[in-house]
Every structure is written in C-alpha cells, then in structure tokens.
C-alpha cells in the first residue's frame, strides 16, 4: 500500500484549491503525528495506530452504510448524505436554507488548529466543506440531518453551518459504518446574533474505527446553542467540543454522553471559552464504561478579562460497570476576570446499591434492575434531545446494554 503521506500529497495536488491544502499539509508535517507522551494524547491507544494502515478516501464510496441516515431521514426536513466525506446527496430544498460545497479552508482559518495534527490533516485532504446557511430570521421546521457514512478508509468530513442573525434550527450530525477506518471530522458552527441552534452529534461507528472529531461553535450576541454529543461506537472515540462566547448574552448548554464496552476508549474534551460579558455555559457530561473500557473527560472553562458576570458550570458523572473499567475526570479553570460564577461537580463510581435494592424490592430481578438503572443514567441525557432523535438513540442504547454483563 502507498504510504498515507504520499497518497495525501497526490490527492492534494490534483485539487483545484491545491495551494491552501498544501499549506495545511506542510503545517501537519511540521506538527507531526501525536505521541502518547503528550498530555492531551496520553489516553489514546497510539501504539495500535498507524496512519499508513489506512487508504485515503479519494472518491465517494459506492455502497456506504446508511441505516442511521435512513432512520433519521424519516424525521428530517432534509438529509444531506456524505460518504467518506464526499457529498452523495445534498438533500431536498428547504426554504431559507442554502446547502453548498466549498473548497477546503486555508490560511487564517487554520489558526485555531495550529498545533492540532488531525485538524490540519483534515484541512489538507478533506473532499470539501459541506456548508449549510440558514438565512436571517428563518426558523427551519424540522431537523437538518448531516449523515456521514464511512467505508474502510481514512476519511475527512468537514462541515460548516452558519445561522444568520435570528435564525433557528436543529442540526443532527450522524456517523455510522467505518469498519477498520479513521474518521477525522471537523465541524464549525457560527451562530449570528440571537440565533438558536440545537445540535446533536451522534456516532455509532464500528468498534474498530478511530473517530477523531473537533467541533467549534462561535456564538454572537444573545445566540444560544444547545449541543448534545453522544458516542456509542469506535475503538477510540475522541471528541473535542469548543464553544466560544463572542457576544454578550450568549449561552451554551453542552451535554456529552458515551457508553464504552470491550476495549473502547472515549476521550471527551470540552472548552467553554467566555470572551464577552454576561455569557453562560453549562456542561453536563455523563458516561458509563463496562468491561475493560476507559474514558476520560477533560473540561476547560476559560474566561477572558472583561467577561464580567459570566456563569460557567461543569458537571461530570461517570458510571463504572466493571472492576476493570476506568474513568478519569480532569476539570481545568483558566479565569482572568473576578466578577464570575464558576462551579464544578464530578463523581465516579458503580451503580448505587440502595437504588438497586429498592428496584429489586419491587420484584425486579437484579440484572434487570441494573439494566434499568444504566439505561436511566442515559435517559436523563437523552430526554433533553428532540423527541424523534431521543427515541432512536434510546433504542441504540438499549441494544448496546442488551449484551452487557454487570459485576455485582
């Protein structure tokens, strides 16, 4: 097989926007692949990772997995289907919504990713940027679904969603398929003044996949983002979610949820970055790990000088379902303003024994009681999602829990 770097260069040279891509590829070369000795990568099974094992996706796959896309399309205003990052179907027209396909980002757009190898690689070799614009004041009647199917490749989907001032929308990003794949995803969401976005990012990739996702939301004045990230799949699931409160009164609620079994690793990173005054952010992270699965939650609250009356909170609960499972919680604060409220709470532990007894004492067998409680742990999160999505995800969680053996 051709080394990955070589096929990447061939691909980049053949693109009409080669110059910007080459710049990104050079930056990627300069940064280099991460190693386990770097703090932010210490939980990744990098020993088992080799970029050269993957073939770069240079064309759309012929028969991608679509069961999740199909299920979501029944509740969607439109479904944009991507295969290995290529647009397969740009969906049906929705009034006030433009879907376009733009060249890869270059130059200044790469600044926020300056030292992030996987994001730079995405900028170099993504097939293009799927761009959705919801025009000023438009309220989209149903979810805009971006369904990404992955083949046995390295693929680099990239989306950019813009809500113009006062626009309101629900966007669902879904990832499926991806046996023996690398899915390296970059998402950017710009919310104009007073815009309101409900965003659900869900991945149920094959358990052999590496999923590396980075999502950045930038919120203008009084914009509001309700964001849920749910990870059930992948061997290594890395999800970094940044919300930047650029305008006063902006508000972000982020809920992250994951379930790990076997030898899965979920590596969730969040950054609540407050630039403007009177901005609020709430993070609620709940994950469960069984078998030998591991998880890490790393959450940064960053508040700039001048972001007065900021209110930023983090809550992180981890459920350990076997003695071999392991969860880490790493909260961080970086605050350069005094007039703020910050709160943090976290817990790591097994199922509550008294709650379990209570259910058993109603006649529920122990295994069922455990299953109900684990399901309940997730239901608390899924209940906050748009109902049609909640139903689908609840069914997936039930299926994932169905096979589970819990100690005790």
């Amino acid at each position: 097989m051709v080394p990955f770097r070589e096929s990447a260069l061939d691909f980049v040279r053949a693109q009409p926007d080669a110059a910007g891509r080459l710049a990104a590829l050079e930056r990627f070369d300069a940064v280099g692949m991460p190693t386990a000795s770097e703090e932010v990568w210490r939980y990744a099974p990098l020993d088992a990772f080799d970029l050269d094992r993957y073939a770069l996706a240079t064309t759309a796959p012929s028969a991608p997995t679509t069961s999740l896309a199909d299920a979501l399309s029944t509740v969607a205003a439109t479904t944009i289907r991507l295969g290995d990052g290529f647009v397969l179907d740009s969906g049906r027209p929705v009034p006030g919504v433009d879907v376009t396909w733009l060249p890869a980002p270059a130059g200044a757009d790469l600044e926020p990713y300056a030292s992030d190898a996987f994001s730079l690689l995405n900028a170099a070799v993504t097939p293009g940027v799927t761009t959705i614009t919801v025009r000023s004041g438009v309220e989209v009647p149903g979810p805009l679904v971006i369904a990404c199917g992955a083949g046995e490749t390295a693929s680099f989907p990239r989306v950019h969603v813009v809500l113009e001032p006062g626009a309101r929308a629900v966007v669902i990003e879904a990832h499926e398929g991806g046996r023996e794949s690398l899915v390296d995803m970059v998402g950017e969401y710009d919310l104009g003044a007073g815009a309101a976005l409900t965003l659900v990012a869900y991945q149920r990739l094959d358990h052999t996949a590496w999923h590396i996702a980075r999502t950045t939301a930038r919120l203008d004045r009084d914009a509001s983002l309700s964001h849920a990230v749910v990870g059930l799949g992948a061997r290594y699931d890395r999800s970094r979610n940044d919300a930047v409160m650029l305008g006063s009164g902006a508000e972000n609620v982020l809920r992250t949820t994951f379930f790990g079994s076997g030898d899965q690793v979920h590596d969730f990173r969040t950054r609540q970055y407050h630039v403007a005054p009177r901005t609020r952010s709430t993070l609620l992270s709940k994950g469960a790990v069984a078998d030998e699965a591991r998880s890490v939650y790393t959450g940064l609250i960053e508040i700039e000088h001048g972001a007065r009356r900021t209110d930023a909170r983090q809550t992180n609960h981890n459920l350990l379902l076997s003695p071999q499972a392991h969860a880490d919680s790493v909260p961080n604060l970086d605050i350069r303003e005094n007039d703020v409220v910050c709160a943090h709470a976290s817990s790591v532990g097994p199922l509550d024994e008294i709650q379990r007894w209570y259910l058993e004492s109603r006649g529920v067998p122990r295994r069922e009681a455990q299953r109900l409680m684990i399901r309940g742990f997730f239901l608390e999160m899924l209940d906050a999602l748009p109902p049609a999505v909640a139903e689908l995800l609840t069914a997936d969680v039930d299926a994932a829990l169905g096979a589970l053996e819990v100690a005790g």
């Binding site: 259910l359 122990r366 309940g376």
Partner: protein, 243 residues
C-alpha cells in the same frame, strides 16, 4: 390462605442489635398495626424483611407458609409474597414506574390505565407517576406512589412503614381505605406501622402489636389504641432484657 410467621427475629445495624427476638404471626386477609416509640426498631424490621443490604439478620426466622424469606433474594421475597412500602421511598433518576412494574413481571396489558386508576384511588395525580421514580415528588406523593406499586404488584402480604407521615388527612383516609380494600380484593395480609390512631377508623385492624426495644411486648385488639392514646407506651412494660 397463607400465613406469615416471624419468630425470634434479630437484626443488627452495624454492630448494634436493634431487633432483638421479635415474634409476629398473621394470616391472609388480616389487617395488623405495629405501634412503638421512635427508635424501637420498626423500620429496621421492615428493611431487614425486605433484604436491604444495610441490615444483618443475626437470628430467628421469617416464613410464608413455611418457606423461609430470609434465604431469598430481595426480588424473590416480594415475588414470594412480602412487599415493603418504605417510610422514605428512594429516588431512582432515569427509571420510570411503568418500566419497573413490567420488569417485575406485572401484566403489561393496559398497565398505564391500571396505574392511573390506582393513583386516583389514593388521590395522586397520575402524571406524577410518569416522572422518574420519586424524583421531584413530595413526601406525601411518594408515600402514595408506594401504595400504587403495592396495588399493582398485589402481594400476599404487605408492610407499610409509617404510612401516615407526609400525608394530609384526606390522603390518609384514601390510603387507609385502599389498604383495607386490598384484604377483600385479593386477601392481602396488611401490616401497617403507624403512630396515628386516627388511621385505625378506616383501616379497621384486627390486631395491634406494641413494639419496644426490638420486641413485640404486647399484642391485642383495636381497643389497645385507646390505651396507647391515653397513657403512651410506658404501661406496656419493658422487653425482656436478655431476649
């Protein structure tokens, strides 16, 4: 007809024995009341019978028709016929009553409707029961939710711990009537722990057991209630010290 027999039961909490040789027998269809001062071990008895992990049985037996409850898992104890309604019901976030009842083997046919009917019988707003179990419910609502569970599980025997606490007078009457009716409806043996003698009008118990320091010191008819009302627990003597 079934019989619940508790003999010489001893229960420890931590390293302290709190129930110390307790005897009690009741038949299906009977309504009994347990009264006793605070700290006399009534809730300890209730939790131990239901297999709560914080309580250790150190002696004695508890059987239904000769089958030892103490050898069974908490699940099998209620399935075999002894249900406990807690003094302080526990919150279980994310878990709903209907799912619990289905998992407990209650007939799923028309379940939501039956839950609604039973809620209304004890004056509980049915929609409160579609919330996560006991989450955001008041003390009195939780107590009535326990009665709804009881009514759907239809156990042979049921023990209600401080059924009156948190309930207003109207709710109390409705709950007492619901319990009394269960003895007719399916021959349930109802055992109620309470401090509140007014409850007895609606409950119509056949026996009252007075518990002190972890033992039944007196068992009598409903007339005992009037004595307790007038004179307190003092006249009922101390439990035997060695027991």
């Amino acid at each position: 007809m079934s019989v619940l027999t508790i003999q010489g039961l001893r229960v420890a909490v931590g390293d302290r024995e709190v129930v110390r040789g307790l005897d009690l027998t009741m038949q299906s269809g009977e309504v009994h009341v347990i009264m006793g001062p605070n700290g006399s071990g009534k809730s300890t008895l209730a939790h131990a019978l239901a297999g709560h992990p914080g309580y250790r049985i150190t002696g004695g037996t508890a059987e239904i028709d000769g089958v030892s409850l103490l050898d069974l898992s908490p699940t099998d104890r209620v399935r075999r016929g002894l249900f406990l309604a807690l003094q302080q019901p526990i919150e279980v976030p994310g878990v709903r009553l209907a799912d619990v009842l289905r998992a407990a083997g209650v007939d799923p046919e028309g379940l939501e409707g039956r839950i609604r009917v039973e809620a209304e019988r004890v004056g509980l707003r049915p929609d409160l029961l579609s919330r996560f179990m006991n989450v955001d419910l008041s003390g009195g609502e939780r107590k009535r939710a326990e009665v709804v569970q009881f009514a759907l599980l239809r156990p042979a025997f049921a023990l209600f711990d401080e059924v009156d606490s948190g309930l207003d007078v109207d709710a109390l009457g409705a709950v007492a009537r619901r319990l009394a009716a269960s003895s007719q409806e399916w021959g349930c043996g109802v055992l109620v722990i309470t401090h509140f003698s007014r409850l007895l009008h609606d409950l119509m118990p056949t026996k009252i057991h007075v518990v002190r320091a972890g033992q039944v010191v007196t068992t009598g008819g409903p007339e005992l209630a009037a004595v307790l009302e007038r004179e307190g627990y003092e006249p009922f003597g101390a439990p035997s010290s060695d027991a």
